[in-house]
């Protein structure tokens, strides 16, 4: 043992042991990754270069679930993209379908009945609630907050049933159609809403107590993986993660589609852009969505279901099969639960699309993840991935 080299101060344990760069692959079969990311599709894998338990470099690998939908739909009529579009997310599927329909209607010049627009707005908010609850549940799982996890999962079930009552089935079904929607709300939906709303408020108050005000959040979420507003903007981060960094950008407010221009709601923003702010912003957005849902239902009741007149119609006169779309291009973005979801449609004037491009927010978030996690602890990888809500369908398409 030579005294001179031993007494030199080493930086870390890895240095002393000679494991300077340990590369670990946390793939999608890893048990903890499965448990946390299972709800969002779980095809991502993380290649982590470690120094002790600090992340030196992180590579996010996507593409394992690539289904090539942009190629597939180029040889099909326009409306046959809808099943693929719904599978960009699970609970957020209806939002993606509504976004695609809006872009297609703009391109084809289709008019949408008033009642259908309000129904779509309501369904967007219900889907947002469900997807946000899934995000919170994954985050609670990742930091080991078991009680909060179960409370949120119960709330998620309530929200999912409410969504099913609104659209008449699975969020992957075809409810939003070019020119309108497939069916109206269930007859007893108002009662269902009242019950679910109080249940969801209970869930949120439990989230406040068990997660937001819990010392565990103070230890595991505060100041973890902060991403500055400048970096968020540069890397294309949108949605709740951008708002958590203090940028008040919400397409529902800034470029309102659907009926959002007539609705009253708040845009929550954070201050530091860490995991805690991401969580707090999402929780507050659920409250705002409940508020928006109330307003939508009030307006829908005014319009009147099933009676004669403009309000009763749910779909304009469209021949969905082989819809001929005039030549042109449209780029349209809506605020999905994950961020700015955009569609860029190019038509030659025939029944087949020239190009259908989907700008999926999770793709950008996966790209930004390493910037947030450099020099963070390995423990913080999964909570941050859960807070960013990296939906596999959106990353891989």
């Amino acid at each position: 043992m030579s005294a001179s080299s031993d007494t030199l101060p080493s930086k870390t344990l890895s240095d002393r042991l000679g494991f300077r760069a340990t590369v670990v692959e946390l793939g999608h079969t890893h048990p903890t990754v499965r448990r946390v990311m299972g709800g969002v599709g779980n095809t991502l894998s993380f290649l982590v270069t470690l120094d002790d338990d600090r992340i030196e470099a992180l590579e996010v690998e996507i593409g394992a679930g690539h289904r090539g939908f942009e190629k597939e739909v180029e040889s099909r009529p326009w409306h046959e993209a809808l099943p693929y579009v719904a599978r960009l997310g699970y609970a957020s599927g209806p939002i993606a379908q509504i976004g695609y329909c809006l872009a297609l209607e703009r391109l084809a010049g289709l008019a949408v009945p008033v009642r259908a627009t309000w129904l779509r707005t309501l369904v967007c908010e219900l889907a947002r609630i469900t997807d946000h609850l899934a995000r919170i549940a994954a985050l609670a799982t990742a930091i080991g907050a078991g009680a909060a996890e179960r409370a949120v999962q119960q709330g998620e079930l309530v929200a999912m049933k409410l969504l099913a009552a609104a659209i008449g089935g699975s969020p992957l079904g075809e409810w939003a159609l070019p020119g309108g929607v497939a069916c109206d709300l269930r007859a007893d939906f108002a009662d269902h809403w009242t019950r679910a709303r109080s249940a969801l408020e209970g869930t949120l108050s439990r989230v406040d107590r068990l997660l937001l005000a819990h010392p565990m959040a103070a230890l595991r979420l505060v100041d973890v993986a902060p991403l500055s507003a400048e970096l968020c903007m540069a890397l294309g981060v949108t949605g709740p993660c951008l708002r958590a960094a203090g940028v008040a950008l919400d397409l529902r407010r800034d470029a309102p589609q659907l009926a959002y221009a007539e609705l009253e709601f708040d845009v929550p923003i954070g201050t530091r852009g860490d995991d805690y702010d991401r969580l707090a912003v999402v929780v507050e957005e659920i409250r705002q969505s409940l508020r928006l849902g109330d307003q939508c239902l009030r307006r829908l009741a005014e319009l009147g279901a099933g009676s004669k007149g403009e309000g009763a119609s749910l779909r304009g006169p469209v021949a969905a099969a082989n819809l001929a779309v005039p030549a042109g291009e449209v780029a349209l973005s809506i605020e999905s639960s994950t961020g700015e979801l955009g569609f860029f449609l190019v038509s030659d004037g025939g029944v087949l699309p020239r190009r259908i491009r989907c700008r999926a927010p999770s793709f950008f978030h996966a790209q930004a993840l390493p910037a947030a996690l450099v020099r963070a602890h390995l423990d913080d990888l999964l909570p941050t991935a859960a807070a960013f809500h990296l939906v596999s369908g959106e990353c891989d398409r």
Binding site: R106, L107, L231, A255, V267, R375
Partner: protein, 245 residues
């Protein structure tokens, strides 16, 4: 009824505040993290080298003072391309430029403070070819730029790329978020981006042969099987990386 902006709050009392009041080094011991005396340092640490001063300094969050860019101001800025500027039916401005001018125009759009196109919302490619097997591809790169305020959006279409080996300067120094978008365009369309920090496939397997989103690439199952079993057979479209591994 404009939407209000509310700032989310953190608990000021209870165990949460008590935990936060414990010094960081003590907290680190408490949760068994003795190797790291300070659990979190602050500020610049999160900025990797690649996104250094240039990008951060030139990306304002507040919109630059002045009027938002409109059709007239863009026409005045790019008189040589004024004829190719119009408004599409989604109300968006659309500028078409040849590939030779692309680098200069994009740089100007990004750096001209009065324009404020500091966000690249999307980057994609459209193949205008009819799809006949013998026809070369006619690729068009589309940049979707927005102001930080989300107000004005501009679509820049870059045309006149070489059909055999399409190539264009990278946009990563202007918009760091272009990195994965360009990898995807390379992966699916075979467009090369000069100066890109790590141009490789992102969605498809690394040894995939061909550029599937080009119109000349047929996705019939028989074709796919053939490509897989005989990886050296050239497909209708030129593979971006030559042969395969």
């Amino acid at each position: 009824m404009p939407a209000q902006i509310v700032v989310v709050k953190r608990p000021r009392g209870g165990l949460f505040a008590l935990v936060r009041s414990v010094p960081a080094w003590l907290r680190a011991f408490w949760i068994g993290d003795a190797a790291a005396p300070v659990r979190r340092s602050t500020a610049a640490r999160t900025t990797p080298q690649r996104f250094d001063a240039k990008t951060e300094g030139s990306a304002p969050i507040a919109p630059a003072a002045g009027t938002p860019p409109d059709e007239e101001s863009l026409r005045a800025l790019f008189p040589e391309h004024a004829g190719r500027l119009d408004r599409t039916r989604d109300g968006m401005l659309r500028l078409e430029i040849p590939a030779t001018d692309a680098a200069a125009v994009l740089r100007r759009l990004r750096e001209e403070a009065a324009l404020g196109f500091d966000r690249l919302r999307d980057l994609t490619v459209v193949d205008r070819a009819t799809g006949a097997a013998t026809e070369p591809s006619r690729l068009e790169i589309v940049y979707l730029l927005v102001e930080s305020t989300g107000g004005t959006a501009l679509r820049v279409h870059v045309t006149g790329l070489d059909p055999e080996a399409p190539e264009i300067a990278t946009g990563v120094p202007l918009w760091p978020g272009a990195e994965w978008l360009e990898r995807e365009a390379y992966d699916l369309f075979g467009v090369r981006f000069r100066g890109h920090p790590g141009l490789q496939r992102i969605l498809l397997p690394i040894d995939f042969d061909g550029s599937p989103l080009r119109k000349g690439f047929f996705h019939a199952p028989a074709e796919r099987v053939q490509t897989e079993t005989e990886p050296t057979t050239p497909t209708a479209s030129a593979p971006p990386k030559g042969g395969s591994a």
